[in-house]
């Protein structure tokens, strides 16, 4: 199987993660061909999940289709990269009915467009107007600071490291002052 995939899709990126889990990374235009080939020839009949991971430094999303054989003993992760700007990849709804809800989920969380999916309406976020929340540039802390407030009365929090430093400096100063006072006192007594 691996040799066929390597030859046909010009990829060397096949990994055996576990006994029951393989992973392959292919070019974006070849991914559906590969999925259909796995489905027709190697019995990978079930689409278990479509996952997405945001690699913001490398400017792409890694979309992974997880396929499982009909006896459920082998899984195959088929991964491809799509650009972050105007992200889009064709829908799989015509082959796998369950892809509809998975794509709907990713559409909402990452703003990826799936041409061919008729039902990309909002799922769990109601009237969301900000950046799609699972993109890395969406900063939850900033969102919280802008929209929500902390409980009142939580003042009095000390920065412990600074406080330790201050106390140490204070102690040192006190020690030095005591030493100085002692020296002065002895000088005075010497003078007498």
């Amino acid at each position: 199987m691996f040799a066929t995939i390597k030859n046909r899709f010009a990829t060397t990126d096949i990994e055996v993660k576990r006994e029951d889990l393989y992973k392959v990374v292919v070019q974006r235009d070849a991914i559906f061909e590969l999925i259909f080939m796995l489905r027709e020839q190697y019995d990978y009949q079930t689409l278990n999940a479509i996952t997405c991971c945001d690699w913001i430094e490398e400017e792409h999303f890694a979309i992974t289709y997880i396929l499982t054989t009909s006896d459920r003993k082998q899984s195959f992760m088929v991964q491809t990269m799509i650009g972050r700007e105007d992200a889009q990849i064709d829908s799989l709804t015509h082959t796998f009915e369950q892809a509809e809800i998975m794509e709907r989920d990713l559409h909402e969380m990452y703003g990826i467009d799936f041409p061919g999916n008729q039902n990309l309406v909002e799922l769990s976020l109601e009237n969301w107007v900000h950046t799609p929340p699972l993109r890395r540039e969406f900063d939850t802390l900033e969102f919280v600071n802008n929209n929500l407030s902390f409980r009142e009365g939580r003042d009095g929090n000390m920065d412990v490291k600074k406080e330790m430093k201050r106390l140490r400096a204070l102690k040192k100063a006190q020690k030095a002052a005591a030493k100085k006072a002692k020296e002065e006192a002895s000088e005075v007594s010497d003078g007498n």
């Binding site: 889990l21 991971c53 769990s124």
Partner: protein, 368 residues
């Protein structure tokens, strides 16, 4: 649409027969459903995003909240994914303890299902009994983990506490109680004529559809397909334990009920073996502090069998102390949309809660 003929109603989110905070919009003619649309969004807490902001160790405490009635498969999945990415090997004792916790939580979750399923057709006494029995398991959890519902016990690299003195004996006592009790449940619920007449022939799923659409758990097993992650891709020590995968024919609500009932027997059987075989050993490998524990740049897909079917996690690390991506694929995501919307068409209004409960839909894991 003709006027005065169609009615559109919302079933949920506050309907007592519903499985959690979700609603189904139903188009009715008379009592018959023409179209069903699932709506979620009452429970979105953004765990997948929150995990990205926390270190691995900090993130471990929120994954259990992804599914309320059965938190442990989440913890096990999270721990297994982190261990696989970081290359940690846990001891035999840890594996046995994890199996014990997972099976106990499966048993507790099936009790919860008994309560929901019987409540959905009005047999409330069964529900009260099942919840009372579930409490015995929660007492065990309280003793073992310090929490009744959210255990936060299966830690990446081990488990957080060792078994207390005499814990296995008390577990055995509870199991003996359950064995007696399950026969009574057979009499008053599974063999009950009113449950049979309501459940047989309702909500039928075909085996081909199951495989194609990725349905899992009791939906598959209720169609006569022997599918169980514990057998198909054994994790922890399930390959050393003796158990069967119960199946039933028919693919309807009653078949799924029979499967669940038989699974309770199997869980008890597994737990008895765990009591006999529990090895000695370390309960935790030495872990670095939470700011120093780093995951390499890699990704993986792990799955366990929860009480409602395959529960899987996709996890990607990026070389830092934070998790780059954790995606949850619970059994409910496909069941609540692709399957439920199909099954409800043509069903009666009074069967909605029955069908939803038999699919084991859990809204918290749809929305994460």
């Amino acid at each position: 649409m003709e006027t005065n003929k169609h009615i559109t109603i919302f079933h949920g989110p506050q309907h007592p027969g519903i499985t959690g905070n979700m609603s189904v919009e139903l188009d009715l003619i008379g009592e018959t459903i023409q179209k069903a649309t699932t709506h979620v969004g009452y429970l979105h807490r953004g765990f997948e995003k929150l995990v990205e902001r926390r270190t691995v160790i900090q993130a471990f405490t929120i994954v259990c909240r992804i599914c309320v009635p059965e938190p442990d498969p989440n913890e096990a999945n999270f721990a297994m994914a982190v261990e696989e990415l970081a290359g940690i090997e846990v001891s035999e004792r840890v594996k046995y303890i994890r199996v014990m916790v997972l099976e106990l939580s499966r048993l507790a979750s099936q009790c919860m299902w008994l309560a929901g399923q019987s409540g959905s057709i009005g047999l409330y006494a069964v529900g009260q009994w099942a919840i009372a029995d579930r409490d015995l398991i929660l007492d065990l959890f309280e003793e073992l983990t310090g929490g009744r519902v959210y255990h936060m016990y299966i830690y990446p690299g081990g488990v957080r506490r060792d078994l207390p003195d005499g814990f296995l004996r008390r577990l055995e006592k509870v199991l003996n109680h359950f064995k007696k009790r399950l026969k009574e449940y057979d009499n008053i619920f599974i063999n009950n004529a009113s449950f049979k007449s309501r459940a047989i022939g309702v909500g039928i799923v075909s085996p081909e559809e199951c495989i194609k659409n990725g349905y899992v758990g009791q939906v598959l097993r209720g169609c006569g397909i022997e599918a169980d992650v514990r057998k198909d891709a054994p994790y922890l020590v399930y390959d050393q334990l003796d158990f069967e995968v119960p199946t039933a024919q028919g693919g309807d609500v009653y078949a799924r009920a029979l499967v669940r009932r038989a699974e309770m027997d199997q869980s008890i059987h597994i737990l008895e073996q765990v009591i006999d075989k529990m090895p000695e050993g370390e309960i935790m490998v030495k872990m670095p502090t939470h700011r120093k524990f780093k995951l390499p740049k890699n990704d993986t897909w792990v799955k366990v069998e929860s009480s409602r079917g395959e529960f899987a996690y996709y996890m990607a690390g990026d070389g830092s102390e934070k998790i780059r991506r954790m995606q949850v694929r619970g059994p409910s995501l496909v069941h609540a949309f692709t399957l439920l919307e199909d099954l409800l068409v043509g069903a009666e209004l009074s069967d909605v809660a029955l069908i939803m409960n038999s699919l084991g839909i859990c809204p918290p894991e749809i929305e994460r």
